[in-house]
Symmetry: C2
Subunit: 480 residues, 2 copies
């Protein structure tokens, strides 16, 4: 453990996770320099370290999207109000949250323009124009952009008036293909969790009450935070012909019949940064899974004025960099203790301390952030073993999150049992009679239906809340 | 030449470049599927092929920015009106073009919010908060985003109400370092032209009249279009202490004195797509420089139903892809003539025709888009020679553009000579007495001061326009 005095000083300034989780979260966002508040209330600044996490996610997903034949596009920021009102369910869902441009520096606009809260409508309008034959299908577009939703209460990354996201929008000639796309994208999100962010998502379908405005079906990936609350971390929607009918997206099929097309949309956002923080972080700050970490390794010279320390540090930096590892050589004039503390706050997965005493034995000290353990390592082995070490850290972090999930996923057969399990934190699975039960549960316990798991085996014949016949098995949790 | 009937049919539908350059440009933008118009007037849709050009530019610049220690960030879309008014010159320059959010779906806002037309103000406000010591400097941030400026007349990529760009904003502890940054970024833009887009930019400083609102000095890269008009393609600004004083960006220097910091900003936008089109395009459509081309090579099977054609095409596709070349195998059921025409319209640098007759001689036909020449090539040599061929195409396209620039860059010693040279198209260099002459020239000829070249040798002692003593040598042109 590296608790020298300087270290303590910095660390003391974030609230303990178990004392006040909400305050811990906000402290960490600011102290790890992930974000800052801006002058426009509810809008945040994504600082370099926070934005780099998003760039990592972008790189991962762009690769997966391109492998699965998706293409990136960019559609306008603003939507004429009249166009926005073309799909009834959709406008009802989003109208209260829209920000509207009504005037320029010189004159008022003839029609109000809505800043996109999501772009289904723009894509539908464009697709109607460019699709006429089965040869034009499928169309599988994705957009990276920011969207604006006028949320009343905001929290960094979790809920804000503006957030960054990707929104995929696809059109298909058959229901089957569109349904497959919906689930394939859900699977890509699930893999983003396990393979990249070390987060085991729970997946399933949303209830009628919780589904997206205008969708026939919504699927989601849900992550379990350290405090036992769930975070919806990505969604994938199947639209059927709904938008196609409203926007007249028709194609001439191989049989020469004119048919309505089938659509999907799916997205993840900078909310994922919140998930990374709240799944992995600890009282010392952020703990980054190595694959998304902007710096995977930080090298800290001890007695950095000594030539042998400088040379060994630089050599190690060059070797690791050449090996494809993202390394930071922190050779500023700050003290080692200050650096230890800063890079722990920032969650850098591995710290290598290069000091004269270790060097005399041809060794360095290697500190792993996730378990805060230190060990000596032969200098000649560091470079060759680093990729394995990073993989091991990823696996250990994923296992830890999986254990947390397993230990906090319960089954309830009575409503009392449900309430008491819920208060322990985590998910509770219960078979209920549908929306009536869902509403009562939300009102009485604050828990919401996270997903209908793909396995819909009934736990009880009767709904413990309404005493009616149970029809659905729902995973409930309190959520962000 | 590949002018079969089908080919002609498609090609006829774009206006000839020399008949009506403006119409040719618009036709090409639409037919090459680079963009489409949207329902919000003045806002365009960046279609996959157009957006891919922007992604190529992003990849090139992100690499250069990171090599030069810049970091990406994201700042809010909206700026409170009161904050926007903090820097006088800046607000005067942008106020008439701003779009303002005044209301949400539920209620009017207490303060109007401006959609960023550029983000100097947001960066300055943030920098004031996070900079306090010389240790915090330099800060070198870049942002990829869209901006909104309420332009009256719009043209695809060249001028729109919304465009995509990058905006770099940096803070330095010394004037020297900030001035160096301004010029270093100009040089990166210049290299983006020569090394990536095959566009030879002219560089220099903007006149007082043409410089950016709030800047001490503005530098720009200017490209010469096929029709002889110039296109400002990127700018780099030196701000001195101007914003630092308005926003109180101070740092404690090594000598313990509190000092104002020095700033720069610089940007290029999707306007560059317009430059690519208008520098390289021809009557058959787009001609893409190979390094930015989304598909560098397209393989078109001839008699694609034959197994040997399918196998040879697939093998070539695999080999070229493995070699790091971006290849499209067009094995759709459209006719070869249709495909030739489409990929010429889209400017794919190299087309490989794989047909049974050539294959019998172990050959394929290789068509290069920039000169529209065909030649036979031994099948075994294609893969190994492709990188060289793409480099050669890049070099030939750059040379052609350089020749065009050389042949359309004139020197004028009298105002009559200036006018007659200007009517030939291209740049005219003249030594003038300053702003008075600049204003008269603009009014009387429509030409504007593009740059003050770095070589300020006077051509004449007297300004031919005002008959006053000449003080500046300016490169003039009519411009987009």
């Amino acid at each position: 453990m590296s608790n020298n005095k300087e270290n303590k000083k910095l660390v003391e300034s974030i609230t303990s996770r178990d004392v006040d989780f909400a305050q811990w979260y906000t402290d960490l966002c600011l102290k790890a320099e992930l974000m800052d508040y801006s002058d426009a209330k509810g809008f945040i600044i994504y600082r370099p370290y926070g934005y780099a996490l998003w760039e990592g996610i972008q790189d991962y997903l762009n690769k997966k999207f391109k492998e699965t034949q998706h293409q990136n596009v960019y559609l306008p920021l603003l939507i004429p109000e009249s166009l926005f009102q073309k799909e009834k369910d959709h406008i009802e869902g989003f109208a209260p949250e829209t920000a509207m441009v009504t005037t320029t520096g010189l004159e008022d606009l003839a029609e109000r323009l809505i800043i996109r809260p999501t772009s289904e409508i723009l894509f539908a309008q464009h697709y109607a124009k460019i699709i006429s034959s089965h040869r034009d299908l499928p169309k599988k577009y994705n957009q990276w952009c920011s969207v604006v939703r006028w949320e009343k209460t905001t929290r960094p990354f979790l809920r804000g008036k503006e957030f960054l996201w990707q929104e995929g929008h696809t059109v298909h000639s058959s229901e089957k293909e569109a349904r497959e796309e919906t689930l394939n994208m859900l699977e890509i999100y699930e893999k983003l969790g396990t393979d990249f962010l070390a987060i085991p998502f729970v997946t399933g379908r949303k209830t009628e009450k919780e589904k997206f405005a205008g969708a026939e079906e919504t699927y989601s990936v849900e992550a379990l935070m350290h405090d036992g609350k769930a975070l919806q971390s990505g969604t994938s929607h199947y639209f059927g012909n709904g938008f196609a009918e409203a926007f007249n997206i028709k194609f001439q099929d191989k049989d020469n019949q004119l048919k309505y097309a089938f659509q999907t949309s799916w997205g993840v956002s900078t909310r994922l940064i919140g998930a990374i923080i709240m799944v992995h972080g600890d009282d010392e700050g952020l703990v980054l899974p190595p694959r998304v970490a902007p710096n995977q390794v930080v090298i800290v010279p001890i007695q950095g004025q000594k030539v042998e320390v400088q040379e060994a540090s630089k050599k190690l930096y060059d070797e690791l960099t050449k090996n494809g590892i993202r390394v930071l050589l922190d050779d500023t004039d700050r003290t080692p203790g200050w650096k230890f503390s800063e890079h722990e706050m920032k969650g850098v997965p591995v710290r290598i301390e290069v000091g004269p005493r270790d060097l005399a034995n041809n060794e360095v000290t290697v500190f792993t952030r996730y378990n805060r353990e230190k060990k000596q390592m032969n200098l000649d082995l560091v470079n060759n073993s680093m990729k394995d070490l990073l993989d091991e850290i990823h696996n250990r972090m994923l296992e830890k999150a999986q254990d947390h999930l397993k230990n906090n996923r319960h089954i309830a057969k009575t409503y009392d049992e449900f309430k008491s399990l819920l208060d322990k934190g985590g998910y509770v699975l219960m078979s209920v009679a549908g929306e009536e039960a869902e509403i009562r549960i939300k009102e009485e316990t604050g828990a919401t239906a996270r997903v209908l798991p793909f396995d819909q085996t009934l736990i009880t014949e009767t709904c413990p809340v309404t005493n009616k016949k149970a029809t659905q098995t729902i995973l409930f949790a309190r959520a962000y």
